[in-house]
Each structure stands twice: as C-alpha cells, then as structure tokens.
C-alpha cells in the first residue's frame, strides 16, 4: 500500500470519485471530483493532535462500528495517504464559536473548514475498473438472529475482533460480557448459493476464510471448540485442501447442514443452533458462545454509476460482464476498459492480484503501441441530401454532429467522436446520413433475401451487437432451445433500425418483426436506445393507421447476460406469428407497397420544397 503513495508514476486521488467520462479508447477525458477533505493531505503529518482535542465521537466505519473514532480521524493507522479527514457533518467547527479546537492545536494549520469539492480533468488511454464488492447484510435471514442476538456477528466483524490492530487488540471476546468464548460456531454460505433468499452464486472466498479463521482461533486459543456448519467446503485452490486438513487436525469440527434457527439463552446470552446434520441424517442442537455468519459478496452499490459512465454491461448477478468468459476475461466490451478484482466476480486476494496483473498487461498491450485503430463504423453526411434540419444533432448521444440550422449549411460529423450507433442515420428524414458498414442498402438486402421465399413462416428480428445479439449467442452457448424460424439481422445499436427497414419487412410479407436492443442501463451508446423506443411507439401508431395490427411489431430489451430471456422471447414471438393470417399479410403488402420504391432523390425533393415555399411566399 505504501508503495502506491511513494511511486513517482502514480498520482493518487483518495476521497475522490469519477464524475464524468467522455471520449473513447486511447482518448478518455475524465472528470474526477476530489471531495472536500477539510485537511490538507500534503501538509498533514498525521500527528494526531487534532484527534485528541476533538469533542465528537462517532462509530468507526473501519472497525464496523465495534469502536469509535472522532469527527476528525485517520481511517486506520496504515492509511495511504497518511493524512486525517474531517467528517464535516459531524464536526462542530463549521461555526468557530462552537468549537474550532482542532485548528487551534494543528501546528501545520492544515485544517480548512471552508474546503470545497474540486473538479480535476485528466486524459487517459485506458481505464481499469476495480471497484470491488460490498458485503452481504444478513438482516433478512432472520433465523440467524443477527439483529436480535448480540453474540451473532458477521465474518467481517470477526476479522476486526481477532486483529491485533482492532478494537480488542486481537483478544477474541463476546460482545455481551467481554469474556472469551469457549465455543464458536461458523455458519457458511450466508447470503450465497440460495436463489430465493440472498444470492444464487457462490461467493468464492468464504469457505477458505472460515478455514483460516478457525486456524487463527486454534493458534491463539487451542482450547476453544469450533464447529463449522456448511453446505460444501470448496477448497479448490493451490494449498487450500492442505489448510482445510490442518484446521481439521487442529480440532475444528465440520458439520454438514445449515442451521434452521439460532436461539439465544436470555440469561447467558449463549446460542443454540438447530440443524439437520445431512451426513448423519439427524436433527441436532448445538450450543455456542458466539456465532460467526460467513457472509458473501454483493456488487458495489454504486456499480450502476460506473456502468453508465463507461457504457459497461453487467451479468445477471450484478457484477461486471467481461467481453468473453474464457478468451477475454478481463476486457470490457468497451474497448480500452478492463476489470480486476471483485468488480467482475467475487474472488480472493490471490485471484484479485492475478486478475489485476492480467488487466494491467492488457492495458499495457494497448498503450505501448502508441496508437489504435478504431472500427470504421461511423456516420457520413451526404451534403446534397441534407436540409440542415438539425434532427441528427439532437439524436447523437456523443455530440459528434454539428449543424448550423440558421445558415442552412449541411451537418458535419466529427468522425473521431462518432461511436457508430447509427441513430442519426435512422432518424434522418431525408436519408442524408449513411452508416459505414451498416448502410441502408446492405440491411435492406438482408431483409429482402430473408423474405424472398416463405416469408409467412419466418420471424425477422433486429438485434443490437452488444446486448441482444450477444444474448442470442449466450442462448447458443447454453443450448437454450427456441423455434428455428427466427432470422436475426445485426446492427451495432437498435437505434440504427430505421423505420423504413421495419416497413420494408412488412411490405415483403413478414408476418412479424421483432426489434430487440439493450436495457436502458446497458446501452453501449449512452442513450441511443431511447430513440429505438420512441421510433417503435411512432411505428405502432403508423401501423394502426394503415390497418395493420401494431402487435405485429414487437419490442424487447435483452441484455448480453439474458440468454434465457432471448430464448423465451423467441418462443413468444413465434406464438404471435402463428396468429398472423395469410389475408392479413396480403393486405399489409398492398398497404405498404409504396415503401419498396426507392427513396425519392431528396436533392430534387429539397429543391421542389424550396421552390414550393418560394412560390407560396410569392403568392
């Protein structure tokens, strides 16, 4: 840790958050909010004089509330940066008449009650997301009595109790009587591996953490009896089985079965654990002076903030989704962004360090080349067709298009800023914007080819590259079966799907069209998916006006992690297809025949409109 503070190449911004991110691989512009700390980090020597005089006490977060700290404090002795921080909400010093004691005693005069948040701007080529995890709160699992029985604690609280730097200087005591417990029970998988209550996944480190805790207790207090209640002990890593055996040899008793109830003796405050021992097939009651709940990991509360800032995806469990589970395990789908540690999935220290090394190597590989090729999927304006209406400017999530609507000069695209969603191209009423590699003619050719034969039997689905198409891939790797008459057309973003594509499909005899994109929070193009929804809403109205059942156009949001939903949707859409009659399709084909005619040369239309307007004005 101290190496980080000392390293000449590392600029540490503690007590800071990422406020905004723009740009793309190799060229991210980041705004960092340095929160007001009210203590000058550079000047503070962590002498502690301020702390001594501070009259306010508050629960110590680092000690999980097992001890107190002052309103001005150092988070823990080895903190980096080695400097104090003032919690201004607790401090009286906002009003110097009320207090101001810490400032008085501070030799360096490095306390500033008027300190303010500061925004700094940095430019970086790569980003590594290591935001870690939160711990599961066992309150909902009321049978363990975490909120009711004082001697039931979490494994995190246990860590502080047995730590020589902790509130008890490492003496293992019960919270009720400060006596050393004679028996300690551990309950495993609290909040893990239960789809109904808590989380369905295994939190990875809790088994070995408990094995370690048992060894620590036995090292210090060989006479303490330890019982571990478990579902399975997962000791799969290098050296893990050895530790597990050592903890057994040291006398730890492992009992297969998770207690159904933990009861407190009102007088002794000791605990009774009722459990079905699934190895013996017996109902048992065990007594313990202290119960430790081995709690699992959950995604960080603020994951969605980082997710949106960097347009990342998350798996169904809420942890960040890697670009490929085997081949790109530390890459995000967003180029130039990598994951390490528990942000990606629960893991122990060794795995976090391994993954961090991998992420650093992947970032290095990109950066050392000095330059990067950006996929040539960007939009281009056809100046002759552009009427300078300015719609594209409003649509673009990246502010990559500019257009002077007053001067009537054609819009222009800053190619480096364009991320290639294609929403502008779909929204342009004049066909004046083409998307490279996803042009109108290319997509229309796919529609036509698909519907040339037996159109009535097929389901046409548009899918966005990052989410719903990937959801389809996941359905494949998981072998989730669905009806074989669906045909997908991939676009980078569902926002690219022009309403003309949908109408063309119907005009070609498609019984049903599905437009699928990402959930709003997952959109790879900030908010381009909003345009998809608005366009579909308009299309429903338009179809209805033309006597076409709007439900023949379906809309679904499917994330890259929702292989199951992808298959379910395909089955549901096929059911709807079967209800579409041949007469209906014929009627639709006639009603929409006009769509198949090539777009009128807009330059001519534009001139005609202008002439018309001029003529009207003259009249």
């Amino acid at each position: 840790m101290a190496d980080v503070g000392r390293h000449p190449n590392i600029e540490l911004h503690a007590y800071s958050e990422v406020d905004a991110v723009s740009g793309y691989v190799g060229n991210f512009n980041v705004t960092v909010r340095k929160k007001a700390r009210y203590v000058d980090v550079k000047e503070c020597t962590a002498c502690g004089d301020c702390e001594d005089v501070c009259p306010i006490t508050a629960p110590d977060e680092f000690e999980i509330g097992l001890s107190t700290r002052k309103a001005i404090y150092q988070p823990f002795p080895q903190a980096v940066p080695s400097a104090y921080v003032l919690n201004i909400d607790e401090c009286l010093g906002n009003n110097p008449i009320a207090c101001g004691k810490c400032l008085e005693v501070c030799d360096k005069k490095c306390i500033d009650y008027d300190d303010k948040d500061e925004l700094i701007h940095i430019e970086v080529g790569t980003v590594i997301v290591c935001i870690g995890m939160d711990v599961y709160d066992p309150t909902p699992l009321d049978e363990f009595g975490y909120t009711r029985h004082e001697n039931v604690i979490t494994s995190m609280e246990f860590e502080r109790l047995i730590n020589s730097g902790g509130p008890t200087q490492g003496h293992l005591i019960r919270l009720t009587d400060r006596e050393q417990p004679k028996t300690v029970a551990f309950i495993q998988c609290v909040g893990s591996r239960d789809a109904n209550r808590g989380n369905p996944y295994c939190s990875n480190f809790c088994c070995m953490n408990t094995v370690k805790d048992c060894l620590l207790i036995k090292d210090h207090y060989p006479d303490v009896d330890i019982k571990v209640f478990y579902m399975d002990i997962r000791a799969f890593g290098k050296g893990f089985e050895d530790l597990f055996q050592r903890s057994k040899d040291a006398g730890t008793i492992y009992i297969r079965g998770i207690p159904g109830e933990v009861e407190e003796d009102p007088e002794t405050k000791s605990l009774k654990l009722y459990v079905e021992n699934t190895t013996e097939g017996t109902m048992e009651c065990h007594e313990a002076d202290m119960v430790v709940l081995s709690i699992g990991a959950i995604p960080r509360k603020d994951s969605s903030t980082i997710q949106q800032l960097l347009t990342l995806q998350r798996s169904q469990d809420g942890f960040f989704l890697e670009a490929h589970p085997k081949l790109k395990p530390v890459d995000a789908a967003t180029q130039g962004v990598f994951f390490a540690g528990c942000a990606e999935s629960p893991k122990d220290i060794k795995d976090s360090v391994t993954q961090a090394g991998a992420a650093a190597a992947r970032a290095n590989r990109l950066m050392m080349q000095g330059k990067v090729k950006v996929e040539a999927i960007t939009s281009t304006i056809i100046p002759d067709l552009c009427t300078s209406c300015g719609i594209c400017v409003k649509v673009c999530p990246y502010n990559a298009i500019s257009c002077d609507t007053k001067a009537k000069t054609p819009a222009t695209v800053v190619e480096a800023a364009c991320a290639g969603c294609g929403a502008c191209s779909a929204e342009c009423p004049f066909g004046a914007i083409t998307m490279k590699h996803f042009t109108d003619v290319q997509i229309e050719a796919q529609i036509d080819a698909m519907l040339e034969v037996d159109a009535k039997d097929k389901v046409l689905a548009f899918a966005c590259n990052w989410c719903s198409y990937s959801g389809g891939d996941l359905a494949g790797t998981n072998r989730f079966q669905y009806p074989p008459n669906t045909r997908l057309i991939r676009t980078m973003c569902s926002g690219r799907v022009d309403k003309r594509f949908v109408l063309r499909a119907f005009a070609r005899g498609a019984p049903i069209v599905l437009l699928s994109g990402c959930h709003f929070a997952d959109c790879h193009y900030i908010n381009a998916v909003h345009w998809t929804q608005r366009r579909v809403e308009k299309l429903w109205d338009e179809l209805e006006k033309k006597g076409i059942r709007p439900e023949r156009l379906q809309l679904e949001w499917i994330s890259a992690a929702e292989g199951q939903k992808f298959a379910t949707v395909m089955r549901a859409v096929e059911e709807l297809r079967q209800k579409v009659t041949a007469e209906e399709i014929e009627h639709t084909k006639k009603a929409l025949a006009g769509v198949l005619e090539p777009r009128k040369p807009r330059a001519a239309t534009k001139k005609a409109t202008e002439q018309e307007a001029a003529a009207q004005e003259a009249a």
Partner: protein, 46 residues
C-alpha cells in the same frame, strides 16, 4: 409528478396502469408477461 396512465402489452394484450411522465422515455415491462412491447393507450381520444 409522475401520473399513472393506461398501457397495453402488445404481447399478451393485458392492460394496466404505469407511471408516465410526458416526454420521458423509460423502459417498461408488462407486469403480466414481462414483455417490453408496452404501448401507451391514449385515453383522451375516447
């Protein structure tokens, strides 16, 4: 601010009420079949 208004699911055809704010595009899900093909029913046009 958000008033409730009537929506119809274009998959299962059930009707239900959801919060709606004019001009705000939100992700909507049918409470009956979980489809996202949720269309606002314009009540004022009755």
């Amino acid at each position: 601010m958000a008033e409730e208004t009537k929506f119809k699911c274009l998959r299962c055809m059930s009707e239900f009420r959801l919060p709606y704010r004019h001009g705000v595009t939100e992700e909507r899900t049918c409470p009956n079949c979980s489809s996202n093909s949720v269309r606002r029913v314009k009540e004022d046009k009755k």
